[in-house]
Symmetry: C2
């Protein structure tokens, strides 16, 4: 489903070339549940942005569903993302002027054809993450963990085939974290491919496969024996 | 050093009155190391904003160093915060157009008299959190955990008497988290008062006292027996 070949991302700063990702080969099949772990700054979010076609490689290729993302036009790329992938960003990336409900509705507003029951779908997703009574709050009127849960609800609203989650429980207490991970397990059981970036072993424990990244390279890729 | 009495924070939304904090009594003495725990939305960040005089109570009082924050003029409040308190915000609150180094220098720029070696102080703090080679990066050019560490460095730069840390290791891998918690232990040993909001038991384990909050109320306040 997702294939990375010699994937490299270089940031040029003055005279320095910073290799955020350095020659990564990685294949993820449909229905997998993969955890990506690694130190701060090792390249995890960069990898996720490339896998999610939010960014283009400096070298190498990312293929999603047979499409090389560097060969798709912006419109096709946008459509691919909107219909196939649900993102949970490390810093949530909610629209500050919109309510929680409007933020969750957003990906559905761009669908063609537009679903007829967007409001209900959004409220159902907010209820799933325990925030139905916060639907009319704007991000500034929500706690950190509530904002994170709105970001999660937004990722689910479009019923994506692939969920890319960057630290989805980073701001959540243990009980709420467990609820969210169980939700991801349930979605994976329905055939949705899940890729979670996490620092926490407790969170990685829910995945079926664990990939470790260090300084932009894959250093370990194994099945989760404790799953 | 810090005293909360009948501390209440109410948000009015249309016809609803939301009690983010509901009649909190809490005393923290100089030199303490307190962890504040509780579910997402329970009121922890709200409590920290009030303790740090970033916000005013709806009812009740916050006293810092003998000063009731509701009786100080904005200028005096600003000076109190700048000279006494170091903040690490849950969402970092870095200035996007400034470099990491400039962000760390910021609290020092407001000191009167202004220190003569601000650049060196900032670079030293960045080195302490392992980011000396990222000094010229702007927040957008940093990973989530690197941004968090810049926020930590900024809190330390002014050599505050009180550190208020809202999830200071939320975005950090375990090794880096341990480094940061050991740094806080060290600062506490030098007499600095530390208040950490955290969801993680591993992080709370470093504190000498653990206060639990639920629905805006203190539900438990005990010494950490495992410290
Ligand atoms: N400006 C606001 N207007 C309305 N409600 C608010 C506002 N700010 C916060 N709240 C509400 O107050 C409650 C407490 O928020 P707070 O940010 O203190 O929670 P928290 O304990 O820090 O949570 P988390 O662990 O998720 O960060 C939440 O239920 C939130 O929805
Ligand atoms: N726009 C940019 N310009 C320059 N360097 C960048 C840029 N974006 C990221 N980097 C660098 O690339 C490296 C990888 O960043 P990335 O965000 O992928 O790390 P990460 O593994 O997600 O870290 P964390 O766990 O802290 O979130 C970091 O060292 C960062 O400083
Ligand atoms: Mg990251
Ligand atoms: Mg909070």
């Amino acid at each position: 489903l997702i294939s990375c070949r010699q994937l490299t991302k270089i940031y040029v700063m003055g005279k320095t070339k910073l290799y955020a990702l350095n020659n990564i080969d990685l294949d993820i099949s449909e229905g997998e549940f993969v955890a990506i772990m690694g130190a701060s700054g090792s390249g995890k979010s960069t990898l996720m942005n490339l896998i999610g076609a939010l960014d283009q490689p400096s070298q190498g290729h990312v293929t999603i569903n047979g499409n090389d993302i560097s060969e798709l036009k912006p419109k096709a790329l946008s459509k691919l993302r909107n219909e196939t992938i649900g993102f949970i960003f490390q810093q949530f990336q909610l629209l500050p002027k919109k309510t929680a409900q409007q933020n969750v509705e957003l990906p559905l507003m761009y669908r063609t054809p537009r679903p007829s029951n967007i409001k209900d779908m959004a409220l159902a997703c907010l209820e799933t993450v325990g925030l139905k009574d916060r639907a009319k709050h704007r991000p500034m009127e929500l706690s950190g963990g509530q904002q994170q849960r709105v970001a999660i609800a937004r990722a689910l609203a479009g019923q994506p085939k692939i969920i890319l989650a960057d630290e989805p429980t980073g701001a959540l207490d243990s009980k709420t974290s467990i609820d969210i991970m169980k939700l991801l397990i349930e979605l994976n059981a329905q055939g949705i491919t899940i890729i979670v970036i996490t620092h926490e072993k407790d969170v990685a424990a829910y995945a079926k496969r664990i990939v470790e990244i260090s300084d932009g390279k894959v250093t370990s890729d194994r099945l989760n024996m404790e799953a």
